[in-house]
């Protein structure tokens, strides 16, 4: 019963935030809606005993990622009028057709299967995503640690490589200069420090 109340409340918050992301004219409001959705999902993670994932969700997503989004939104400019008209003539109808198709397919899945195919037979054991459990699943290396070797160890190491590549790529993009300087006068000031504003 408690879970039903939490599901209804946080589900409403998540849906409202998601609709806000899509419908908001001002991207700042969209970012706020996205943050509401992320917090609601963090509550769902706690309900699902995934405590560590919930904490990481709040810190990384609702904290860092949203801050980064807001930073770029402010940099790009929030006060410029955005026209919601579509310039490609076929974009809107094709998009609506695709969306309706996916809605029908997902609805058919929900109605006919009721997601029974994801539930295993028998009572599953309750898992709690504590830090110890997550950490041992991530980097336990074998018998000396008292557990079998983790199957997530190689993906974990690949993730570190991915993060390094992403950081180097972001820095390289920040130093990239367009070669043509003759069009659109007045942007000679696009130096490395131009993000700090006038």
């Amino acid at each position: 019963m408690v879970e039903l109340v939490i599901f209804a409340l946080m589900g409403a918050v998540a849906l409202a935030g998601a609709i806000g992301v899509v419908r908001a004219r001002n991207p700042v409001y969209g970012a706020m809606g996205l943050m509401a959705t992320l917090f609601a999902l963090a509550v769902f993670y706690v309900v699902h005993l995934a405590h560590f994932v919930a904490v990481v969700q709040v810190i990384v997503y609702a904290g860092a990622v949203i801050t980064l989004f807001l930073f770029v939104i402010m940099f790009v400019g929030v006060d410029r009028a955005e026209d919601l008209t579509e310039k490609l003539a076929v974009q809107r109808p094709v998009a609506l057709i695709v969306l309706v198709g996916v809605v029908v397919a997902a609805g058919a899945l929900v109605v006919t299967g009721n997601f029974d195919w994801v539930i295993t037979s028998g009572e599953p054991q309750v898992v709690t995503g504590t830090i110890e459990e997550i950490g041992e699943n991530l980097i336990s290396v074998g018998p000396p640690s008292g557990r079998e070797a983790s199957r997530w160890l190689l993906p974990f190491e690949a993730t570190s490589l991915l993060l390094i590549v992403a950081a180097v790529g972001a820095i390289a993009l920040a130093f990239y200069r367009p070669r043509r300087k003759d069009e659109a006068s007045g942007r000679r000031d696009a130096g490395p420090g131009s993000g700090s504003g006038p």
Binding site: A18, V53, V65, I73, E86, L88, Q125, A170
Partner: protein, 101 residues
């Protein structure tokens, strides 16, 4: 009334569809990017719900990896958006037609 994993997965499907709609219908690159984040989070909710339904912690591990990949994606994607904005003075993807013949 028992809230089963199917409820959460239905909610995740709705969130995913809203994100897909934003990705297809908006033309601001930042809003499209936020819609992608919405879709990723919908899938994360599915993973966590399945982890509890199966009693397997693998779903939560997958969510952690999705989080890391999404963080890397945000860093690179926002750098690309800022780079485009510096050279084109726009964040609308409709304006980016340099490759069209």
């Amino acid at each position: 009334m028992i809230v089963t994993a199917g409820w959460y997965m239905t909610l995740a499907a709705v969130l995913f569809l809203i994100g897909a709609g934003g990705l297809l219908l908006r033309n601001n690159a930042l809003v499209m990017f936020m819609s992608v984040e919405l879709m990723l989070n919908a899938v994360n909710l599915t993973f966590v719900a399945a982890a509890r339904a199966h009693g397997d912690i693998g779903g939560q591990m997958a969510v952690l990896f999705v989080l890391v990949v999404a963080a890397a994606e945000v860093a690179v994607g926002l750098a690309i958006i800022v780079s485009i904005f510096r050279s084109r003075r726009t964040a609308s993807v409709d304006e980016l037609s340099e490759l069209s013949g």
